[in-house]
């Protein structure tokens, strides 16, 4: 294991851009496309993932040495499912309207590849501190991406961001941006822009 030690800061920032879970690794696309019809939905989804990912990464990395290799995936899933249930129930209790608009996608965080992927690729191989930093970086990257995606779609599809009227009254909302095609078009353009910027930076 001749692994190069990278600084904690790098561990955090890689999730924001270089290994952004949505724009670069293309993980967790199902909630990304489905719930981002408004900025607040994207933010809520991102925060739910942030809590779940950080908590499960902490648990998994602290017990990583006693998990038998053969049953590691079921173990991960059980830990993740526990935290998803906590998220789901507390959201239903404290933010019933938001919970309703996110619908089935909160329970579906269990099968979100970002979370399972981080457990398999990182938390099960690194110590607790690093895993928490990694999980925070990844989920902050996820949250920012979803919020931006939701904001763009909300701005063009309804003329608002976080329900704040930003467009002039004469603006006619582009309905398509709130519908599924809008999610695909916007996400595609965002991924394209990411690749374009990265290609420029390399040059």
């Amino acid at each position: 294991m001749a692994k190069k030690k990278i600084s904690l800061l790098k561990e955090f920032t890689k999730g924001l851009w270089d290994e952004n879970p949505v724009l670069v690794m293309l993980l967790g696309l199902c909630p990304t496309l489905a719930v981002t019809s408004s900025a607040i939905n994207g933010l809520a989804m991102g925060l739910a993932v942030l809590f779940t990912l950080t908590a499960s990464s902490t648990i998994i990395s602290s017990v990583r040495k006693i998990i038998p290799k053969e049953v590691r995936i079921p173990t991960f899933i059980i830990v993740i499912a526990t935290f998803v249930t906590i998220t789901d129930k507390s959201m239903a209790a404290f933010q019933p309207i938001l919970h309703k608009s996110l619908g089935a996608f909160i329970p579906l965080i269990v099968v979100n590849c970002v979370i399972l992927g981080r457990q398999e690729a990182f938390a099960s191989k690194n110590n607790v501190g690093r895993s928490i930093v990694d999980a925070l970086g990844m989920s902050v990257g996820f949250t920012i991406t979803l919020t931006v995606l939701g904001a763009i779609r909300e701005l063009l599809g309804a003329g608002t961001i976080f329900s704040l009227q930003l467009m002039p009254d004469s603006f006619v909302p582009w309905m398509v941006m709130i519908l599924p095609p809008g999610a695909f078009i916007t996400l595609g353009l965002m991924i394209g822009a990411t690749n374009w910027i990265n290609a420029r930076r390399e040059r």
Binding site: P173, M175, V176, M177, I185
Partner: protein, 342 residues
């Protein structure tokens, strides 16, 4: 000068090879190319994308005239707006990509897009649709020859999904902008009004600016077919299958379903069959594939018109078949001479 420019356009090659599967009109070889010692092909073709687009534009003229006659000069403004914004978008994106194309396909896209828009649409939406057609519909895929979907139809689908009310506000040609009216298909579907055949044939009915006059579109379309810039199999199979499937449903229940002639002359079927479905880039290159493409589109059209939520289905039927085109091409590849089936 012009020649050297043409030679520089190496990038056009993929596009140029595609239509080559379809027969091209004979053209005179240039004097200095008459005696070339080389292996086949010996016939030197001077046709390029530019010529094809020029002829398509000419074929669209009768329909443009019809749109001006029925909907006034506003329709001309709409067409001009669409063409100018399409060309500008094309130029800007080509600059960004560092490429140089001057084949004029953006003009065709602009005209076709404008013709599928309702006469009352605000010019701002026309610009938006044009930018979408060129940027998202064509250039994102890599430019002309690489796009999966017909850019004009894709932009129309975008506008239709974005602004459903504005995209379905029709005016009556004879009384002009004051009164809103229904298209023949919309009237039949939602209000049970049957439009007279003669009005639909000459175009005196509600609809998008370029789609109403079936007769003048046929004139332009037949010109394209005679000049062989469009594959005759696609319109024939498309219209033919609409007639066949329309007849089947009409015979089942004449009271509920319209007769095949009504299908033929209403809505954007003629425009779609002659100018949209025959787009060389997004339709199959093989003869057998063209038949499958047309029949599939006709079947989808009848299904959408009779059982869908929308009165008109030309746009979606062609877009759906566009998506199948690569698959059709793959399964209808002609056999080499002497090839043995594995």
């Amino acid at each position: 000068m012009e020649e050297s420019k043409q030679n520089n356009q190496e990038e056009q090659k993929p596009k140029l090879e595609k239509p080559a599967a379809k027969p091209k009109p004979k053209s005179k070889p240039k004097p200095d190319q008459t005696f070339i010692l080389s292996s086949s092909p010996h016939q030197v073709k001077t046709d390029d994308v530019k010529t094809v687009m020029k002829h398509v534009n000419m074929a669209l003229l009768p329909a443009i005239v019809a749109s001006v006659v029925y909907f006034g000069f506003r329709s001309l403004f709409m067409i001009l707006t669409a063409v100018i914004s399409c060309v500008l978008t094309e130029i800007v994106i080509n600059k960004m990509r560092g490429k140089q194309f001057r084949e004029g396909s953006a003009i065709v896209t602009g005209i076709l897009l404008a013709m599928t828009l309702p006469p009352t649409l605000h010019l701002g939406f026309v610009v938006m649709g044009s930018v979408f057609a060129i940027a998202i519909g064509k250039q994102i895929f890599g430019g002309l020859g690489y796009n999966i979907f017909n850019p004009a139809l894709l932009a129309r689908a975008f506008l239709q999904a974005s602004f459903p009310v504005r995209m379905t506000t029709w005016t009556n040609p004879s009384t002009l902008d004051a009164v809103t009216t229904a298209t023949p298909l919309g009237g039949l579907k939602f209000e049970n009004i049957v439009s007279p055949y003669f009005d639909m044939l000459i175009g005196n009915c509600g609809g998008c600016i370029g789609e109403t006059s079936a007769l003048l579109i046929i004139v332009g379309g037949v010109y394209l077919l005679i000049k062989k810039y469009a594959d005759w199999r696609i319109p024939v199979s498309y219209l033919g299958s609409v007639v066949i499937f329309g007849t089947i449903f009409w015979l089942i229940n004449p009271g509920q379903y319209p007769d095949p002639l009504y299908h033929l002359f209403s809505g954007g079927l003629m425009l779609g069959a002659f100018f949209m479905a025959t787009d060389m880039v997004t339709s199959p290159v093989t003869p057998k594939g063209s038949w499958i493409f047309g029949i599939g589109a006709g079947f989808l059209l009848v299904i959408i018109r009779l059982f869908g939520g929308l009165p008109e289905g030309v746009m979606y039927s062609i877009l759906l078949m566009n998506a199948f085109t690569p698959l059709i091409n793959r399964f209808t590849r002609p056999k080499f001479f002497g090839e043995v089936k594995k």
